[in-house]
């Protein structure tokens, strides 16, 4: 099963909202994946086991895994595009 890490500063607020949206998106598209939240500071140690990172923070580091910016899930602007990026990455 694919694994998606959803990261923000504290793994409590914005990643919670984004992870909720992503879980809904994957369910609608019949994609089985393990969606986990974490802090950006934990990405380095957790990225190895992940297939995709979605983050609401500014992340410039290369974790060897695709990184998608998920601010759309918070601002509401550009959600369709972000959804598509995630689906394309997990197919």
């Amino acid at each position: 099963m694919k694994k998606v890490l959803v990261a923000c500063g504290g793994a409590v607020a914005t990643s919670t909202v984004a992870a909720g949206k992503i879980k809904g998106l994957l369910k609608e598209n019949n994609i089985e994946a393990d969606v986990q939240q974490c802090r950006v500071s934990e990405l380095a140690s957790k990225a190895d086991s992940a297939d995709l990172i979605v983050t609401t923070a500014k992340v410039e580091r290369d974790y060897g895994v695709p990184v998608i910016h998920g601010i759309a899930y918070i601002s509401g602007m550009g959600i369709d595009k972000t959804n598509q990026e995630i689906l394309d990455n997990l197919k």
Partner: protein, 158 residues
């Protein structure tokens, strides 16, 4: 669920704060005074905002959602501020500056029980007409009523 997150005493309308630090100090002080956050809460807010900015470039005015580690927080609350003049926040996930006129501060303890409430509050920010109305309210009673009725509406729709 009742909107226990909201508290009339945690609302400041038409603030003349002129920097994001002033915004965080005013709202943070309220949280501390009311006993909802620890003494060092404001430092926590500033540090987090610097590292992980929370400005959102939404319509019709920018909104910021400052928050910090749950370890600073004693009770799940949101504090609200509307500003007379926009204040610059850095954009979440980006490097642009956003002119913010509505600030919604999240004070969240750990746990999953705030997920639904959090989703609804984020939903509120994405509602252009709501944001427009919020920044023009004249007093905190009105701001409270407006916010509460919007949240109640979202809960009923869910």
């Amino acid at each position: 669920m009742k909107n226990s997150f909201l508290d009339k005493e945690l609302i400041i309308v038409n603030s003349n704060a002129s920097s994001k630090h002033e915004v965080l100090e005013s709202l943070g002080s309220l949280m501390i005074e009311k006993g909802y956050a620890n003494e060092n809460y404001i430092d926590g807010l500033k540090t987090r905002e610097k590292e992980f900015a929370t400005g959102l470039s939404v319509k019709p005015v920018g909104v910021a959602i400052p928050h910090t580690d749950s370890s600073y927080v004693k009770e799940d609350k949101i504090a609200i501020m509307t500003l007379d003049e926009p204040v610059a926040f850095e954009e979440m996930g980006g490097s642009n500056s956003v002119d913010v006129q509505l600030v919604i501060l999240f004070a969240l303890t750990d746990g999953d029980d705030h997920l639904k409430a959090l989703q609804n509050i984020i939903q509120v920010i994405q509602d252009e007409s709501f944001v427009r109305e919020m920044v023009t309210v004249a007093d905190k009673e009105k701001a409270y009523e407006l916010f509460e009725s919007k949240l109640t509406q979202l809960e009923e729709e869910a």
